[in-house]
Symmetry: C2
Subunit: 273 residues, 2 copies
DNA sequence: TAAATAGTGTCTGTGAGACACTATTGG
DNA sequence: CCAATAGTGTCTCACAGACACTATTTA
């Protein structure tokens, strides 16, 4: 194979030496990261947003992210940006979807590889670099609407969701399309990224151990259940829930106050299979 | 917002007019498509490969695909390439994963957005453009190995699979890593794309209606079951299988020979919910 | 006529969904 | 002491897994 010559009589080595891709127009490729956590009392989901200091979408809130550099993978870029902007390391980080609408960035042709990061402790973040204007927002996604707000900052963004039918081959799908209802809006197509990442999270939450990336090292079962209910957007039955997680948790022997109720509960840790 | 000026005193309009991204090095972005079908008698999965006529990987077999153009989405690019290379239109086509290893293409920095396409009829493809050297290969993925072969062409590619442990946040995963065991190999990292796409297909096959994109307009239940067994890599029980698909199919009233056994069976069509 | 396959009946175990109940504890 | 919550028992229903059996038909 390596000895084969192409129609111009070049070997692979010769071809590569002479190869140039200067002729083609190319896109920029960025990563955008949905960093998701929960409030200390397990009463709401939290999403990390960064205030843009530059055009376009100057002063708008946006997902953290940045451009992929020449000698790194998208994962490495997401990991690097996450550490630069939040000092977070070693957290759950996974590719969600790649957004390629050529009109998604008014500057130029920019694609974005979306990532989802899960964090258990809010405090581990905002410390670092105060030059960057970052803040945790409450994220509420329920039937028909998305609310993203930070009361202390007086910011509230509100989207309504329509279900839109479409078809792929023989399969009929329903998808959510968000429409901004507030004057403040997220930058770019970041609301779409949030929807996609949240759907993926929901899908995996019941059948994998994702929850334990958001629960903290030690937790009570009432608190863990509250977390599941936040993500799955529905009430769970205590008995069924405890059966579900029974094989994945281990009692520490300690008792402590549930964040959610202030009553004493047994304390557990995650037990990897 | 649109009236705000940035630190250089520019409005968004002025900023965009002066914006240039010429300074940054950018990757090329391609789409690669795993086109999957089945043999007429439902006895094996078929994958469409194209013989490369250029360096690198000259004369190697590769997934169909090509570069994304400036004013299209990745989906449109995949759709266009699929039609150009196979004349297929309107088939199931879905994004799988984005591969970004900077070393995946020896020419230069090339990312690839992988797509999975499902096709019910082999014949609908190879007709078109005979300048392109395209062929259907048998695809067998079972415990520990992948075989991709076309007996008529005398081509057989063989990979062994190792399960590799890795960790993401608190979650421990197992992933498959393929190692080529034959002299002929697929181009680029296409074996990884095949693995990823096949895993995604398996995941969705039982819980969505993907199967009906590969079954054909009319089919018998024994044939449909054979298809499920090919994709899920395991034998199914007739009773349970028929219960599973009962609500998704509708008898046409006709009887016909099962492709798999040559015996008369009732004929069904897909009934979308 | 025999071997193979289409098609149906039914038993099992598992897990989600749903209540009811007791034990404990903070206010 | 009472209201709220931790924790447990158990019933139901849907469904996957597993056999056994009858009906049909090709070879």
């Amino acid at each position: 194979m390596t000895e084969n010559k192409d129609k111009n009589g070049l070997t692979e080595k010769e071809f590569l030496a002479s190869y140039s891709d200067k002729g083609y127009e190319k896109p920029s490729v960025s990563v955008d990261i949905m960093v998701l956590s929960r409030s200390a009392d397990f009463s709401s989901l939290k999403i990390l947003l960064i205030k843009r200091g530059e055009h376009p979408f100057l002063n708008c809130w946006a997902l953290p992210g940045g451009f992929i550099r020449k000698n790194e993978t998208a994962y490495q870029a997401a990991s690097r940006e996450l550490e630069e902007e939040t000092s977070l390391r070693g957290v759950y980080l996974n590719q969600v979807y790649t957004f390629t609408n050529p009109a998604r960035d008014p500057r130029s042709w920019v694609m974005s590889v979306a990532y989802l990061a899960l964090v258990s402790d809010l405090a581990s973040v905002s410390a670092k670099d105060d030059a960057i204007d970052a803040a945790w927002f409450d994220l509420k996604i329920d039937s028909g609407k998305i609310t993203i707000e930070n009361e202390a900052l007086g910011v509230r963004m509100f989207y309504s969701l329509e279900t839109k039918q479409f078809q792929n081959g023989k399969i009929h799908y329903e998808n959510w399309v968000a429409k901004a209802e507030s004057s403040e809006k997220l930058a770019f197509d970041h609301i779409e990224i949030i929807i996609e990442a949240f759907l993926k999270l929901k899908e995996k939450f019941e059948h994998t151990d994702l929850a334990f990336n958001m629960a903290g090292d030690k937790f009570t079962l009432p608190d863990l259940q509250a977390l599941f209910e936040l993500v799955l957007c529905k009430k769970l039955y205590k008995t069924n829930f405890r059966l579900l997680v029974a094989s994945k948790v281990e009692a520490t022997g300690e008792k402590r106050k549930s964040a959610i109720s202030g009553k004493l509960s047994a304390e557990y840790t995650y037990k990897a299979q």
